[in-house]
Symmetry: C2
Subunit: 441 residues, 2 copies
């Protein structure tokens, strides 16, 4: 007999079926036993009744044991029917049990746990309904990102993670022993995706990046998945914001259509991504903060504080019905060397942050594409153009005006789902004191 997935059992009333999965719960009562079984597709109630030999073979079964079951799908008595849940109108009467694997569990799978205990036991706790829902939604976000860009003729590429010396001189770089040399782990695919614009005009890349941040907060991970796109022949940064808005609409549509049950289980709020995304310059945002939102000392600062970002998002949600807001024109001093300086507003850049539900999830903008202008950008940051010779070739040999974004997968997952800590949105979060298990000092 072929396996039937549990989600389809309700269509098999009166039929004999084979299911495979996990014992979710079990209760023995005299000559009867009552179960919940689950597979990846859902759950079903089971019963053993009047079959002593089946009961005998079941007596060892405990939660999380892996089994293959034959049984008959019976309609439940009228009074036990629950139309609100999957298989609420049926149960499986078990005729044969084959044990595929035993289990010995440390605690109940759906217990409320503090984050450290949950992470210590990750191979087990990932099986909870909540965690499965989180990472189903995450898979859907990645898919929607890809599909949206695919529809706009972007080409996917694989960016390297091992990179040469730390040319940008950031403190947040991991070093690797690379044979007789020292190499680094990429903090972003930035330089490679710019190179790829010269090749395919519009590209995207999905992969892990690495930040050696010494602080452990609810917003930071030492390794995270970055969703990056970069596109050529743009007018300016507004083309990038328009493309990002398309991506965000694609993500909203993807998760709402394909992970409806998961969003419900996690009690996620409906996303507000209006046709026109609220957009303001940093200086305008700072005036707004002081004049309407009760802040002092915002105007003139080179950046927003975390509490400013939260306040702007609250405002945009309430007043403008948007979970997303673009803040543009950060000063040159606060942006990387490749950021395009606005000719009409010297000292400020055609860059932007996308704030989403209280936090920055995207950094993006137009890039310097002119070779001489890029060299100027490097020098302005005190960097040595010789360290960038390989990358600079792309600009010497014909680079169109271009720009792009980097979107943190775990952060957007966290924010869409209203999770407290970004680590809840990482399968195996890397922290200063944890790689799977706690590290010794």
């Amino acid at each position: 007999m072929k396996r039937t997935m549990i989600k389809s059992l309700s269509e098999k009333k009166g039929q004999e079926v084979k299911i495979k999965g996990w014992v979710d719960t079990v209760r023995f009562q005299g000559k009867m036993a009552f179960f919940d079984f689950r597979d990846v597709s859902g759950k079903v109630q089971g019963i053993i009744f009047g079959k002593p030999e089946v009961l005998e073979s079941a007596k060892e079964l405990r939660a999380e044991w892996v089994v293959e079951l034959d049984g008959i799908i019976n309609e439940r008595p009228e009074k036990n029917i629950n139309k609100d849940i999957l298989n609420g109108d049926v149960e499986i009467e078990i005729t044969k049990i084959q044990i595929l694997s035993g289990a010995e569990i440390p605690f109940d799978l759906n217990d409320e746990l503090n984050l450290d205990i949950s992470l210590d036991n990750r191979p087990y706790t990932l099986k909870s309904d909540k965690n499965k829902a989180i990472f189903k939604v995450q898979a859907e976000i990645v898919k929607a990102f890809r599909n949206t860009l695919g529809n706009f003729d972007f080409t996917e590429f694989q960016a390297p993670k091992i990179v040469g010396g730390d040319a940008e001189g950031g403190a947040e770089v991991y070093n690797i022993e690379y044979f007789k040399n020292t190499a680094s782990l990429a903090t972003s695919p930035q330089l490679y995706k710019q190179i790829m614009v010269g090749v395919f005009e519009k590209v995207y890349s999905i992969g892990n990046v690495f930040r050696a941040e010494k602080h452990s907060t609810s917003r930071h991970l030492n390794e995270y998945s970055s969703l990056d796109f970069e596109m050529g022949f743009i007018k300016d940064h507004t083309d990038i914001m328009d493309m990002l808005a398309e991506v965000m609409r694609g993500i909203k549509k993807g998760v709402e259509e394909n992970t409806k049950d998961e969003l419900k289980l996690l009690q996620a709020e409906e996303l507000l991504i209006p046709d026109k995304i609220p957009t303001m310059k940093l200086s305008e945002a700072q005036v707004l903060l002081e004049e309407k939102l009760g802040f002092e000392n915002a105007v003139g600062e080179p950046d927003l504080e975390p509490e400013h970002e939260r306040a702007l998002c609250d405002y945009a949600k309430k007043e403008l019905k948007s979970d997303l807001i673009f803040v543009t024109h950060y000063p040159v001093s606060k942006r990387p060397f490749y950021t395009y300086e606005d000719e009409d507003e010297k000292g400020f850049t055609k860059s932007f942050d996308a704030l989403f539900k209280g936090v920055e999830i995207v950094s993006g903008g137009q890039r310097r594409h002119d070779y001489d202008n890029l060299i100027e950008g490097l020098k302005m940051k005190g960097l040595n153009p010789d360290d960038f010779k390989f990358y600079l070739q792309a600009f010497k040999t014909g680079m169109p005006p271009h720009g792009g974004i980097g979107l943190g997968l775990e952060r957007i997952t966290q924010k869409i789902l209203g999770l407290k800590n970004v680590k809840e949105a990482s399968l195996f979060p890397r922290e200063i004191n944890r790689i799977d298990t706690l590290l010794s000092e």
Copy 2:
């Protein structure tokens, strides 16, 4: 005026258009100039004729300059029509030129180059027709891998690249300074994808892996993209081979349908993936090698030599009309600790290699899913179960029978396209002596 992509120009006869792209070639002749222009979608001939002011603005133009052009699409005179190429029936008569970016190129883009020079100049040489074709096909392989597995209800997940101490004790591991500890770069997502089978039953992951191999050959890369899947509730390794065959058929279909021009340009041979993939045990392959293929000393060896793999593939192609062949039942001694030992053939495993056009592109098989059996596997390899405590939780808390594969993206790209060196199939290959540029000793 909105941009028209070059591939659509032939439909715009008599119309005014705007195109954006690169000067491919340019030739001035008296009061006329002749061009080829290209964008990511294709090429078109251009001409400046009888417009002195346009000619004046064009006089600096050289190969690879980036331009925005207005012009009229004219039908070519009958005798100049070439129906075999894109836009072979039209040319663009240029009325306005706007230079977006200059260029200064080291050599002609489609020159035949040795690999080192090609790699030294990668940001430039990637723009050649050949290289663009290679990485378009590669993007299509990734897409087909994903789509095939998506159709079979696999869930995508993001595997970490920073992993704990080198528990398996391989020599090929890169070390990272991880704050006060030493961590490693993952050589495979193996342990994580097994954990994820306990969560989602069927999973896949696409990402870079790292091998600190000290030798530089035409078959090896120090960083490569691994396409991995893992699935639960299998009968045995043959379920994995069946799924892999589906994936290979999906890849054949994907590249043939969506990168037809690229395959033609690269003169790729048609792929032979029959309905039934030739499958033999290692011991049978060794007998075949000795009895039919002229080898000695193959029988009884624990593994195949590279020349054996080539001979078996030649044989399978000629006699069995297949580019793919599965070799199963490698000895326990040659496979990792998690490999399932065949109960009916002790000492041999339910594992396989997929050989493809002369080389192993996939390693896969059934895994040990029983906790005690897995501990036995670890001990047999001299490994300490305490070092695997995190991973082992998955097996303590209910793991179904499962298995999977890892497929090297660059290797399959190389083999599908008949490239000599796997480095040609890596955008930015990492070698012992190269990270983008050559490393100092």
